[in-house]
Amino acid sequence: MGLRLQNIDKMVGRETHLKDISLEFEPGSRNIILGRTLAGKTSLLRIMAGLDRPTSGKLFIDDRDVTGVSVRKRSIAMVYQQFINYPSLTVYKNIASPLKIAGLKRTEIDQRVRKTAAILHIDDLLDRLPTELSGGQQQRTAIARALVKEADLLLLDEPLVNLDFKLREELRIELQEIFTRRKAIVVYTTTEPAEALMIGGNIVVIDEGRILQTGPVSDVYQNPATLKVADVFSDPPINYIKGVVTADAIRLGRGIDIPLHDHLSSLKAGTYKFGVRANHLFLTRTAEADVKIRTTVELSEINGSETFIHVNYDNSMLVVQQNGVHSHRIGEPVTLFVNPHYLLAYNEEGHLAASPSLQTATGMNAGNVGDDHGVH
């Protein structure tokens, strides 16, 4: 089954939730919708499911217009952010319910329920009620109920966001394996770049109800087409340093000169913004080509087993991601090292001009729709 969205708009009252969304999903594909909170991820998913009707635009399944078709008549499964199960039914009956409605034989239902429960490691909880389970187990039940149907379209709306860190990691790995074995179109929304990278497949980056960029996850990660995409697809947010490209060198910020090497050599003269992710800024020299940025610590925070150091350079905030737990005093001088090889160059319009894995912007793939919509 292939799914196609054609110029979908969704207005609620006077508010635009989605604007001109056109997408195509291939059978058996894994798709991530990445966007911040309120970007329109859930609205999009609900339209794909058929729970909401788009204000305008059409939805096709295998070239058949299904825009107004009731959700009951579609082959879909959905997992919500909240743990949604039928509280009055046991875990077994919860998972069995879609099969029972479909009128399957009891033996087949039993076999499929047990198989799916085993995949999600809830096979010893089948007799319990959802309220007697932990959050993680409840969500596993919800996922099991979605999987057991073997629907053509499997929608997951930030399924792991309400789980604690450890459970999230666990389920994320399991889900990744589960998805690879599916024939269905899997659509998975998330706000977290790390989750998007882990699940893999294709990605749709949306913001304020518009599609910013589409393509394979790693391509989009390496070549965020606009500043906005780079922002959404980096956690902590990507760092920007202003720079001027002259005939023979790049002058970064307040007087750091970088030779025009590799991917940067194709840049035309002008002013640019250079983006570098927090994990590409180091406190020690890592390569011969590294350039130094001298500044002072403004804030240092520990996040899990990583330390984020916030510094100010040339009137813009930079965040350095340092592995391990370290303490830095506020006001302490630091030297950052950045390899020009990792720099993403954005022109004045905010479009990607050069990236490490892409020689020039001219080679950008056709699936890139970010340019059509411009940048806010």
């Binding site: 729970l51 949604i84 879609p98 409605i101 109920r145 149907k149």
Partner: protein, 267 residues
Amino acid sequence: MKIRKRTIGLALYFGLLLLPIYWMLNMSLRTNADILGVFSLYPTDITFGNYIKIFTDKSWYSGYINSIIYVSMNTVISLSVALPAAYAFSRYRFLGDKHLFFWLLTNRMAPAAVFLLPFFELYQTFDLFDTHIAVALAHCLFNVPLAVWILEGFMSGIPREIDETAFIDGFGFPRFFMTIFIPLIRAGVGVTAFFCFMFSWVELLLARTLTATDAKPIAAIMTRTVSATGLDWGLLSAAGILTIVPGALVIWFVRNHLAKGFAMGRV
């Protein structure tokens, strides 16, 4: 020390509350002559004569049967009408929904006497006078709005995603409503049934006016104890005690739901 004081206070309060009921029980177990003759804190010659009369005299016990019939009818009608209505108010937005919801409640603000004459006229015309359904329908005027109001509160506490998940899973609406949704608001249904029952059970004005003989409620029959020779105190008390019993039974059955209902719903 503090706890003792509170316990004593509560016991005293409870005692005062139960005093009239105890006194009624006391009287119901005595003969009329005994009641009027001597003052006694407890019945010395216990007699069940009053109760036996009520249970053997058809003109007495039919009153209980009539009351139970129309009260049950009313509870069933109110619930079966209010459940879908409350679902609609809770789940859908439609033109004037909020006004309609409030208007429903205003029905309860009018005294029953206002509706008495129209009902009487109407039922005479449609030949419904002195039937059980007549009283049950009249009481719906008060119970349906209350039921919708209470149930809507409970339903709005259930996430909409459960409905959607059920539809995604392929449930048809009736099946979803009966097998998934109603069990979720069991407490609310219990509480609502209780309120409908109690209102209909104690309501006297409409029930008495809209019936003559065939569907006469117990409360109206009790007035028969007044005669030219005076009041039959013992019999009246026994009837009173028996009137409390069904209500107490219903409370006993929904007591757990009731506490939950008060905590989460709109009671």
